[in-house]
Structure formats: C-alpha cells, structure tokens
C-alpha cells in the first residue's frame, strides 16, 4: 500500500523570498506554543509564510500537518465542517461534529494550519480553544488579520519584506521584485536598480503590491511605475484616510493595477469575485459571459489577468483563483458596478443547471457507462463549495424555488456522499422562507431529500412522516424521486421492524421503476425486496431478488449501488450458512467502495468481510480486513463503526481460540455502544458469554467482561489484532523528565550552579568569581535553558541534590 502523505500542503507556485530568521523562530515557537497566529494586513505574506513554516514542520508531526483554508466560507458552522473534511472525519449521528473531531485528534500529534480566520474569527477562536483544550499534543498555526484572542495564543505580527537601505540593494523586497519581473519576461539592467529601490520603498515592502508592480514591467519601466504609484498614493481616497498606512498602500497598488486593465478585463475580474474558491474555465465562461464579454473571449481575458498577477492558476491552467485581498477588492467593484445581484443570480442558475446535468449523468440517465458517471460525480463534487455559495444566495434572496432545485441535484450534499446533516439544514432553511409561488410538487420533491437526510441522522419517524408527505404531494409523473422515496421508506420501515409495509413500498417502487426503465431504482427496490424476504426468513426469495438487484445495478454501473446489492447478497448467503459465498460477495464490494471514497460503507463492509473470513478460519486475511476497517473507523471518528469492527474482532479472537480476547473485544464494543446510546446485538453477546462461562468459569468471565467494558476501544482492538496478551494495568505514567546530564553544563556553569546552593545572589556570585553580575545572569539564563528549568531556585535544588548524591 502506498504511504499516505502526512500533509496536504500545496506545492509552492514560485520562488519564496527571504524571511529566514522568521522561519527559524517560528519553527521553534510552534513547537513550544499551543496556538500561534500570524497577523497582518492582507497581502503582507501571512499565508505564504505559514505554508513555509508548516512545510518545515512536517517531519515533526507524525500525525500530519493539515491545511484548512477558510477564506471561501461565509458561515461560522463551516469552520468545523471544513476541518473535519480535511481530516477525513465524518459526522456521527447524535454528536456535534466538533466533538467527533476533538475525539479523533485527542491522542494525535499534529499541526493544523488554519488559513484566513479573520472573517470567522469568533468561531475560529471557539473551535481552536475547544480543540486545544481537548487535544494535548495538537498545535495550531493560524493566519488572520485579527488575532483570535484566546488564552493559549501567541500573536506573531508579520512584517513586510525588508526594504533596501542606502548601500545594500539585495534586500528581500528588491529580490522579490526582480524575481517576479524576470518571470514576467522582463530583463532589468543595473541602471534601473535605483528605481526598483525607490519603488519597493513606496510599496512599503508589501509582497502583493510588489508582485502587482513587477507584473507590469513588460510595459512600464520601474521608474515609470514608481512615478505613477507616487502620484496615486498622494491622491488615494479609497479605504479612507484613517485606514492603517499599509492597508492604504496595498489598496493603492491593487487599484493602480486594476485601473491599468482593459475595460473587459476589469469587468471579468470583478465578476470572478462571485466564485467560492478556485474555478475552471468552463464555470467562468458560463457565469461571467454577459455583455460586454462573450464566452469565447474569456480564456484570453483570464490569461491577461494571470499575466498581471491578479489571478492565479495552476501549471496546467486547469484551476484559477483569486488571492483573498484581490477577491475582496473585486467584489467591492462588482457592487459599485451594480452587478452583484445579477451575477449572484446567474451563478445560482448556472450551478443549478450544471449540478442537474451532473446528477442526471451520475444517477438518472440510462445506459451511461460507469467512467462517465464517475466523471460526473467528481465534477459535481468539485462544485460543492460554489453550490453552497449559490444556496446561500438563494436563501438570502428568497429564491426558494431555485434553492430547492439545487438541493436535490447533488450527491455531494447527500448521505450517499458521506454528508449527513447538511442537506437537512439547507432544505429546512429554505422551507422556512416564504414559499408562495413555489409549486407544491417542487416542495414535495425537496422533502424527499429531506427525508433521506433525516434517515441518515437516525431520525426515523420524522423521516418516515416526511417521506409519506412527499409521496402524497409529488407529481404523479415524477417517477425518479417517487421511486427514491419508496425505496427510502423501505429502508426506514425495515429499520423500524415493519417488514409488511416495507414490502408494499418496495413492490410499488419496482413497478414504477420497471415501467420507466429506471435501473437505479429497480436495483434499489429489488434490494429492498430481498431485505424484506431475508427478515421474513424466505432465503430463496431473498437470494432471487438479490441476484436480480445486482444484475440491474451492474447494468446501471454505479459502484455505490452495486456495492449495496452485493452486500445484501452477502447477508443472504450468511443467513443460509454459506460463508464462502458471503465472503466473496462482501469482497467484491470493497474495491467499489474504495473507488468512491465512501469510507463509512467501506469500513462496514471490511468489518463484515473480516468477520466471515475469521469464521472460515482464514485468519491472515481476516486480520488484515478488520485492521483496515478499524483504521477507517477510527480515522473518520465513527464510534459506531469502531464498535462494529470490535464485534468482528471478537469473532476472530474466538475462532482463533482466544476466548478471553473475544470477551474483551465484545465487552469493549458493548461499552462503546452504550456510551453512544445504541443497543447492542445482545444475542450474539449472550451466546459468547455462555461459551465463556463454560470454559473460563463465571468469575473469570464476569471480570473479563467488566474489564473489557471499561477498556479503551483502541487497546481492545490492538489486543486482538496483534494477538497481544492483556497489557499490564496501565500505571498513570507521569511525563518523565529527560535525564539531565551534568556534563551539558560548562565548567563555569557548574561552578555557578554550585555557588547557587550557597544561596548567593548574582552580585554575590559575581564577587566570588570576579566577573560582572550581568555575566552571572547570562550564565544562569543558559543553565536554566539547558536544564529546562523555569525558575532560578530550581537550579540550586538540583545542584544540591547532585552534590549530595555524588558526594
């Protein structure tokens, strides 16, 4: 298996200039301090510096260095959501996401880099405070215009790049200018150096301003740029006279660069501010092509903006983005031009159209080969941040109709994409607005997706009620969502133990789906029928429906559906005692789920595979599968999934003849389930305990059970996975201080340490040794640092102990 990278830091786009001392200092400070916040105006280089520091720290954090970019989010609750997404943590039903994230990071040594906290600074402060309080080895490096103002924070103010002084012209700011000018294809000779120096001073060493100026050197000489910038700064009005000087300088430079743009470039730049984050050409063409810009002009205009350093892009020019500072400026210009509403509207429409198309390709249309469906799925996921921005606008502008449409067209917002709560939030929010004029059928359609989300959140009765209302009011010819609803109701009713009613809906769904040639829902309905038959103990029927479901799913091609039906068949095989067949079925689903990145379902499937393999006495692969399933469960922060894997591990242990391990693992699973308010599969446990009592005796079994219930799930899992014996009762090991060797001190320092035991003051020691008190103080500071002491008095104690010990 390839080693997964332990960071998600982007490659640097161009040369990084200077700041060597800062990098060294920050490297040490981050190790020493829980939270370091890099503060300063936009464009001063906070992000770039933070990324550099973080990259250097990768080797120091075994659990990774994780960049969380917050610029594109407007709403506070997205802070923890984005942290979770980056870490691969999934929401658990019935627990706040932040709780799951904190639990997941508790034991980890990792560094979180939160970039651009300023606009969500309060929530960032709360989240960081909670994380730091709950996770002792976690470090946070943040960038923000404003500090978080929490207790554990060190505020580190980022200065501009060094300015050239009279003699030395190789200052950082000049280096940056030269480098970017060269990159723009300009060759500057020595003669222009004086002008470059003047320009860098006028720009106050602000990196973004310098880059914008350097990008113009193909047209203007540094001297010309310096003159114009000077003129401009004397006239500068935007931003107000009260704004801090650096901010004014930066704004001045941005404005100067903007004013130099061709009219169409200006229009495009400000329109680009509507995108959530990075975007591709296609999206730009669809959203921004409106008078005076034609769609086919956009590629060239974008290229022009990239040349002027106002827009960034990756090497392949596949994704474009705006620096936050530029984006804010562009958005302001868009507002002034009176185009904001129009553009937001367009953005919403375009997103709707695109996501509807992707959804149709991924799920609804017949006869689409899987690679194309998969492409659509990926494309749709790439739009998710823009979709959120568009939904936000729909809610803000009261466009319930389009908002709802957008909700029901993206698997990324659905539990199917591993996203539990979000769809519920959006639909509830939209439905709480004024819905006059929204057709009842549309509302019913949206409620279908609401019901779907509620089921994933384990709110079964609300889900059922919503689904029923949705079915009652949906247009009769809205076949696809109708079938989706029937199939959802099947799942809900089965979970509620109402197989009779479930069967009815499954049949209904199957009829409609067959009539309309809808493979997706045929497969889902047949899988439902198979599940119903299984519950009723009609195994042959269950098998028949299951096989047909898998065939339909295969014709459709969607891996999620195929995996679901394969797992259903595995369950049927298990029920009739055909473990080998069950194993094969479960195994086939594994690569499908891996391809989709559906980690929750993958973990579940691995747990099943492992359990069955264990029963077949294929211990090696059972162990491997269960280990993989446990890893995913842990990494995604899902306690329910961890419990499921523990049950599998209990089976493995018992099959291997380790009855004690089996009881421990089962007890740990039961304890974990109880802690999240879940019922355990009691019959399985009762049977196990019965066997244990016979073999191990009552007392031993009871004591193992209570020990296992209190056991940390990870420890219990490791015990079975590694075949470890019971670990010794973990003593509360204090953080053992490193043994300090006397020899780290110089002879002089040892001498002074000795004198301290006599209770001498610095002055007294100075007199004794005939040196100055300041020198004594310096030695003492060195001794404290070497020994890791935080007070002078500690040295005396230490020295006294040493001399009595050795003497």
């Amino acid at each position: 298996m390839p080693e997964t990278p332990r960071h998600n830091l982007p490659a640097e786009p161009n040369r990084f200039v200077g700041r060597e001392r800062d990098l060294d200092d920050l490297h040490d400070l981050v190790g020493d301090t829980r939270v370091v916040t890099l503060c300063g105006v936009g464009g001063i280089g906070k992000t770039r510096l933070a990324l550099r520091v973080a990259a250097r720290l990768v080797p120091a954090y075994p659990d990774g260095v994780w960049l969380v970019e917050l610029a594109r989010f407007g709403r506070a609750e997205l802070v923890e959501q984005e942290i979770a997404r980056v870490l691969g943590v999934r929401e658990e039903a019935g627990r706040p996401l932040l709780g799951t994230v904190t639990a997941r990071l508790r034991e980890q040594r990792c560094l979180l880099l939160l970039d651009n906290c300023e606009h969500l600074v309060h929530r960032c402060a709360e989240v960081v405070a909670a994380l730091v309080a709950g996770c002792p080895s976690l470090r946070v490096l943040a960038t923000s215009r404003e500090p978080l103002r929490i207790a554990s924070e060190l505020i580190w103010r980022v200065p501009p790049l060094d300015l050239p002084d009279e003699g030395a012209a190789d200052a950082e700011s000049v280096q940056l200018f030269m480098d970017r000018a060269t990159a723009a294809g300009t060759r500057l000779d020595g003669a222009s150096l004086a002008d470059v120096v003047r320009l860098c001073r006028a720009l106050d060493g602000l990196p973004l301003a310098i880059e914008l100026a350097a990008a113009r050197t193909s047209l203007l000489s540094p001297g010309q740029i310096a003159d114009r910038i000077d003129d401009r700064f004397s006239l500068l009005t935007t931003g107000g006279r009260t704004a801090p000087a650096r901010q004014r300088t930066l704004l001045g430079a941005v404005e100067w660069s903007y004013d130099l743009l061709a009219a169409k470039e200006q229009v495009l730049l400000r329109r680009l501010s509507v995108f959530a984050g990075d975007f591709d050409l296609l999206l730009a063409e669809q959203v921004c092509a409106e008078r005076p810009i034609a769609a086919n002009e956009i590629v060239e205009l974008l290229g022009g903006l990239v040349d002027k350093s106002l827009v960034l892009c990756d090497e392949g020019r596949r994704r474009y983005r705006l620096l936050e500072t530029i984006k804010r400026y562009a958005l302001e210009r868009l507002r002034q031009a009176g185009e904001r509403e129009v553009l937001r509207e367009r953005h919403l429409h375009v997103l709707c159209a695109l996501q509807e198309r992707h959804f149709a390709t991924e799920v609804v249309e017949p006869g689409v080969p899987w690679p194309r469906r998969f492409e659509a799925l990926i494309a749709s996921r790439e739009l998710i941040d823009d979709q959120r921005v568009a939904l936000e606008w729909a809610a803000e502008s009261g466009d319930v109709l389009l908002g709802l449409r957008l909700c029901q067209t993206s698997t990324g917002l659905l539990p199917l994409g591993g996203n539990l709560r979000e769809i519920v939030g959006w639909i509830e929010r939209l439905l709480s607005l004024d819905t006059t004029g929204v057709p009842a059928e549309q509302i019913a359609h949206a409620m279908a997706y609401l019901a779907y989300g509620l089921e994933a959140k384990d709110e079964l009765s609300r889900s059922l009620e919503t689904a029923r209302r949705s079915l009652a009011e949906m247009a009769p010819d809205d076949d696809f969502p109708r079938c989706v609803m029937h199939n959802l109701v099947v799942v809900v009713l089965l979970r509620m133990g109402r197989a009779e009613e479930a069967a009815h809906h499954a049949e209904e769904g199957l009829t409609v789906a067959t009539r309309s040639g809808d493979r997706w829902n045929q497969a889902a309905s047949l899988a439902g029928l198979s599940a119903v038959a299984l519950v009723r103990g009609r195994l042959r029927e269950a098998q028949r429906h299951g096989e047909e479901a898998l065939a339909r799913a295969g014709e459709h091609g969607h891996r999620w559906l195929m995996a679901r039906t394969a797992v259903q068949l595995g369950a049927v095989a298990e029920a009739r005692g055909d473990l080998a067949a069950a194993r094969t079925r479960y195994e086939t689903a594994v690569p499908w789920l891996s391809e989709l990145g559906s980690d929750l379902e993958l973990s579940r499937c691995l747990a099943r595979t492992g359990r069955v393999a264990a029963m077949l006495h294929e211990f090696g692969s059972a162990r491997e599968r269960l280990a993989a399933g446990t890893d995913i469960a842990r990494a995604t922060g899902q306690r329910q999934a961890v419990a499921r894997c523990l049950v599998g591990l209990s089976v493995l242990a018992e099959c291997e003849g380790d009855l004690e391990g089996a009881v421990l693992a089962a007890a740990a699973a039961a304890g974990l389930r109880e802690s999240i308010g879940q019922h355990s599969a009691t019959t399985r446990f009762e049977e196990l305990l019965g066997r244990a009592r016979t073999k191990l005796g009552d007392g031993r079994t009871t004591s193992l059970w209570s020990r296992g219930r209190a056991m940390c799930p990870d420890v219990a899992a490791r015990r079975v996975l590694a075949g470890e014996r019971l670990p010794p009762k973990a003593a509360k090991a204090p953080v053992t201080a490193e043994p300090v060797r006397h020899s780290v001190l110089t002879a002089r320092e040892q001498e002074i340490a000795g004198l301290l035991t006599r209770g001498l003051s610095n002055r007294g020691i100075a007199g004794e040794l005939v040196i100055s008190p300041a020198t004594v103080a310096r030695h003492i500071a060195n001794i404290m640092e070497k020994l890791g002491y935080t007070s002078r008095a500690q040295i005396a104690v230490w020295a006294a102990e040493r001399s009595s010990g050795s003497g």
């Binding site: 200092d25 207790a151 505020i155 103080a777 007070s791």
Partner: protein, 127 residues
C-alpha cells in the same frame, strides 16, 4: 539569600529585594529566549520606571540581548520613529500607546509584564 532591597516603587511603595530581582529576571530571560530572542537582538522595553522595568532590562541583558528602553511619555510619532529605528523583533510593554505605535513596525512579538513573569501561554507539555 540576599534580602537586600534594591528598589522601591515610588508609586506603590513596594520593595524589590535583590533575591526577587535575580529570580524574576532569570525567569524572564528564559521566557525571552523561548520567544526567539538571540544574542545581539534588540529588545524594546516601554514600561513605567519601577521594578518591572528594572527586571525587564536585566532580563534582556541576561538573555544576551540589547535593551532598548523607550520612555513611556514620548508622543506617538516619536515612539513610532524610535520603534522603526530599533528594527527590534520583540517589544516588552503594557503601555497602550506603545502597543499602538508598534502596530506597523517590524516588531513580531509583544510581551506583557505578565508573560515575562511566568504566566505564559506556552504549553506545559511543550518541553
């Protein structure tokens, strides 16, 4: 140890003994080092005349730095100029005007008297 009094705070009448001076400045010196102060670094100190100023100055010297005191009653513009001139990376101050004046300087870290004396945000598990 020496109970000799080395300073009296004219405002509060509180006395600083030699032992306290030695101990507090030793602690503060280590704090400064942890914040990245290195041999030869300039450290700005803007505190009212009194024991804290004395301790801070001793600490900077013990940390091998160069103390650069700023009188608290300088006007804003002069403060700003002096700060600029110093090119210091670290400033010790509780004085709001000095904090404001450091706003657009090259000062990276501002330490309060409290942070200097051990009430520090740095984590106990850090070392």
């Amino acid at each position: 140890m020496d109970q000799r009094i080395v300073m009296v705070d004219s405002g509060t009448g509180l006395k600083l003994t030699e032992e306290q001076l030695d101990e507090r400045s030793a602690v503060a010196a280590v704090r400064l080092r942890h914040k990245g102060v290195r041999a030869g670094d300039t450290v700005l100190i803007c505190l009212p005349v009194g024991p804290d100023l004395l301790v801070a100055t001793h600490a900077v010297i013990a940390a091998d730095g160069v103390a650069w005191p700023l009188p608290v009653d300088l006007d804003q513009a002069t403060l700003r100029d002096r700060i600029q001139e110093s090119a210091a990376r670290v400033m010790i101050s509780n004085v709001q005007r000095a904090l404001d004046a450091a706003e657009e300087s090259r000062v990276r870290i501002v330490m309060s008297v409290a942070e200097l004396s051990g009430a520090s945000p740095s984590c106990p598990t850090g070392r």
